[in-house]
């Protein structure tokens, strides 16, 4: 079960809220402080992309962000409802040293009518996050990312 689930109307002004919530939950889950900036940026990129897809497809449903904490990792899944003509799939391990590697190998740009910014968002995510998976079909797309957590000291 998700630790925190967030649904927000596909409007740019709510992306910041998603970033703040994700960072707060990640911190509580034990994600290293030094990595929280990456979490914030990656979830922001994924949500901005989802908002853009909903707006460009005229989709009224909300963007979905699922934050899950388990023993060893903290996961974020950002889901959109935009129909994707081509399946985009990229799995991780692909820490891109540069944008060339990130956008070329790890994340094929397969959005229909994709703007450069959309590709750049995915390039940023694949450059930032070691464990990332992008998938899409005719019912929507998902970006799944995870970060290791360090066991929190016992708090009273």
């Amino acid at each position: 079960m998700a630790t925190v689930e967030l649904l927000f109307s596909a409007l740019p002004e709510h992306v910041r809220t998603a970033r703040l919530v994700a960072a707060a939950v990640a911190r509580r889950a034990g994600v290293d402080e030094a990595v929280l900036d990456e979490v914030r940026l990656a979830v922001g990129e994924a949500c901005s992309r989802a908002v853009g897809l909903h707006v460009s497809h005229g989709i009224g449903s909300p963007v979905r962000v699922v934050l899950t904490e388990d023993e060893k990792k903290f996961s974020i899944e950002v889901a959109d409802d935009a129909p994707h003509a081509v399946v985009v799939e990229a799995t991780a391990g692909a820490r891109a040293g540069s944008v060339g590697a990130g956008s070329g190998a790890a994340v094929p740009a397969a959005e229909e009518g994709a703007e450069g910014e959309d590709d750049m968002g995915l390039a940023v995510i694949s450059g930032l996050v070691d464990d990332v998976e992008v998938s899409a079909d005719e019912t929507g797309g998902h970006i799944r990312m995870s970060w290791p957590t360090t066991p929190a000291p016992a708090l009273s």
Partner: protein, 113 residues
């Protein structure tokens, strides 16, 4: 936090000081500012990012758009940034090769290459 923008002319350069968060919501304001400056004939821009707390790919897109506009007039767009977390975004997108990035406004204003 919202985005704050102010401009100042130093010699033939226009310094744009940016503060706050540049994201999908606020980036259009920065885009408008850059477009307005270029339309008004300011082709040598220095964007001071020292007050920026957050930058995402939408913001990068706006800066690249600004660079394209000034270059159409043989102008320049230089950045001032010392913050590691912001510089990292330029590095992973390869944009450190595209933008001259300076450590101070004085340095950027004097640069001529």
């Amino acid at each position: 936090m919202d985005l704050s923008l102010s401009t100042e002319t130093v010699g033939d350069r226009t310094v744009v000081r940016v503060g706050g968060e540049i994201d999908v919501y606020t980036a259009p304001k920065l885009r408008e500012q850059l477009v307005e400056l270029v339309n008004d004939g300011s082709y040598h821009l220095v964007v001071d990012m020292e007050g920026v707390d957050f930058l995402d790919s939408t913001g990068l897109g706006v800066l690249v758009g600004g660079l394209k506009r000034v270059r159409a007039h043989e102008g320049s767009l230089r950045l001032v940034c010392n913050q590691e977390r912001i510089l990292k975004i330029f590095r992973i997108t390869g944009l450190t090769k595209v933008f001259p990035i300076h450590t101070s406004v004085e340095d950027a204003v004097q640069a001529t290459d």
